[in-house]
Amino acid sequence: MAEEYNLDTNIVLRRAWKRGKNLSKKSQWEIEVGDPEPDTLSLEAIGLKENSNTPYIIKRITSTALEWRIRNLSYPIEVYSVLADPDNKCIIVKTSNKKYYKKITVPDLERVNLVPDQKRIEYTYKFGTLIITYKKPPEVLKLERQVLEELQNVQTIKDGDLPCKPS
């Protein structure tokens, strides 16, 4: 796992996990928070790629909330419904015209053993983007504070200052 913080605001900009350690394929980075890696290879490799107009989702973390932005959505706000699904531990985004559907898992809540709560969900639609905000519960805030404290004790490596000696 790798994380990238904004040193001024102490907010996570990017968090990625190395996943998919399989026998037949190489492990890949899975982006949990921040902009996704651009998908450049799959059109040549397998000849299939999502169209550039396809909606895609980005997760961000702000100081008070978890935030998802779904870009490239061109339908008016009445079409969307955002529901918490506590049984499957996810948030479901639906469209009444059956054009978009997404189950969003919330690892931040899973880490503190919570399930999504409908009351904390808000969403707005602006400039082709659906913005879903989920107000952080106190448990999540507490965990983040603890992690940050731990991280501030870690010594920062400056450029050219490698942790091991290259031969």
């Binding site: 998919g20 399989n22 026998l23 037949s24 394929k25 799959s42 059109l43 040549e44 490799a45 397998i46 000849g47 299939l48 790629k49 999502e50 169209n51 550039s52 107009n53 396809t54 639906k94 469209t95 059956k98 054009k99 978009y100 559907y101 997404k102 189950k103």
Partner: protein
């Protein structure tokens, strides 16, 4: 006039089923019930209750998968169902457990040594199960658009729209995927899955919403529901490969193409060693599981002393499969020595085996077997003909009687009858000799044959004057 227009009876044949019928193609399992008791007639198996029960116990042992490196010997006179029992075991094991069948004489080849052939056979019978999580796209095709360049050359581009009950997504297509889609004949209304890692397409069926287009589909079209939820799903898949396949792919000189040509040659022991350590590593990391399968060696008396001593050693390996051997020999020479031994197998190897014996079939059982074979070969046999055939099987051999079924079926079809009568059986019985009658003829007329010599003389090579 009605009399003039005689309706010709058009023979309609089922084109779809062009299967060849093998000697044991009627066997679908061991025919045991849940408590491993053998049913009299079941899954193509008849009689040999004790042997089948024993085989059932062995089957349980193999299915547990914990015990490896055991050897089982099926011993009995010719034509008593030894190979059938082995096939039954193979069928009831299912596709996931590797089952390799070979004949004892297969190991003698100029291309590789005997022990190499045996090692390959053993490694073919050990499977490893690899678990993988893959991402798939599953949806109903709404539309496929392909744009071909006007000049005829250059890359094709296209768009594919897929939907589920909840959503719809447009994908850009590259040349590879366009070719694959055309090859699979995917059209709108089909429900397909695409493996995201490999790009492999599989057609699941046609969507129910298109069910009214009945006139445009063949009889074997499967109708399925449109998938629900998200288009992209994670799915766990399990592959089973044999260690031999891994060996071949990793032996540098041949590459994986050797798997198709069958020309694998000898594989270096270093390669095998490396693969063994790699597999042990995968096992420890929980990526792979080993499933020891079954190696079946028919006519095992054809192996020679070197092979037997090699097997002795190979069976002790912890990754060895369960080895089932079959033989019809009594006390005879061990090949490659001057010693005799039961079944032509050295005593020390016999000691490591559990022996299942088969006995001669009774008349009622022979009748059942012949009936099953008739069904398998699509022959209608009258009761009298079946009785006669059973007598023939009793007096000559079961194999000869089974041969006659097909022949009698052909003869009856010649006289435009659907049922085989006694006359047909009689006719083929007189046309084709069994082994007994052939021997009799030989002993009567052997002076008319070339290079004849009385069986009791032997070795002199000189024609005898009588």
């Amino acid at each position: 006039m009605a009399a003039g227009t005689q309706v010709k009876n058009v023979e309609v044949r089922d084109i779809a089923r062009i299967e060849r019928i093998g000697a044991h193609s009627h066997i679908r399992g061991l025919g045991l019930d849940d408590s491993l008791e053998a049913r009299a007639v079941s899954q193509g198996m008849v009689g040999q209750q004790m042997a089948r029960r024993a085989a059932g116990v062995v089957l349980g042992m193999i299915k547990e998968g914990k015990i490896a490196g055991r050897a089982v010997l099926l011993a009995g006179p010719p034509g008593t169902g030894k190979t059938a029992i082995a096939m039954g075991i193979s069928k009831s094991l299912g596709k996931d457990t590797p089952f390799t069948a070979m004949a004892g004489s297969e190991i003698y080849s100029l291309e590789m040594s005997k022990t190499e052939a045996l090692t390959q056979a053993i490694r073919k019978s050990i499977g490893i199960r690899i678990k993988e999580e893959t991402e798939i796209i599953e949806g109903e095709v709404v539309e496929i658009q392909v744009e071909r360049p006007a000049t005829g050359v250059g890359a094709k581009v296209g768009k594919l729209t897929l939907k589920t009950t909840e959503m719809e997504t447009v994908y850009d297509l590259g040349t590879k995927m366009i070719d694959a889609l055309t090859k699979e004949k995917v059209q709108s209304g089909d429900v397909i899955t695409i493996d995201k890692a490999t790009g492999k397409i599989s057609r699941i069926g046609r969507s129910f919403t298109r069910a009214r287009d009945y006139d445009a589909t063949g009889p074997q079209t499967r109708f399925v529901q449109c998938p629900e939820g998200e288009l992209q799903k994670r799915k766990e898949v399990v592959h089973t490969v044999s260690i031999h396949e891994i060996d071949v792919i990793n032996s540098r000189t041949h590459g994986f193409l050797a798997l198709f040509s069958g020309d694998t040659g000898e594989i270096k022991p270093e390669v095998r060693e490396q693969i063994n350590t790699k597999i042990a590593e995968w096992r420890e990391e929980g990526k792979a599981e080993i499933s020891p399968g079954v190696l079946f060696i028919d006519e095992v008396h054809m192996l020679d002393i070197e092979c037997f001593s090699f097997l002795n050693r190979a069976l002790e390996d912890e990754m060895a499969p369960v080895v089932i051997m079959a033989t019809n020999r009594g006390i005879t020479n061990i090949r490659g020595t001057n010693y005799t031994s039961p079944h032509g197998i050295p005593i020390d190897l016999l000691d490591r085996m559990i022996i299942i014996s088969t006995s001669q079939y009774r008349e009622s059982e022979l009748r059942e077997i012949l009936k099953i074979r008739c069904e398998e070969e699509d022959c209608e046999l009258s009761d009298d003909a079946l009785t006669v055939l059973t007598r023939i099987a009793m007096e000559t051999s079961l194999r000869y009687a089974i041969q006659l079924i097909t022949l009698a079926g052909l003869v009856s079809r010649r006289r435009k009858s659907n049922e085989v009568e006694i006359e047909d059986v009689k006719k083929v019985y007189s046309l084709f000799l069994d082994e007994g009658r052939s021997t009799q003829i030989l002993s009567e007329y052997q002076d008319q044959y070339l290079y004849d010599q009385k069986p009791d003389v032997g070795g002199s090579g000189e024609p005898m004057d009588l």
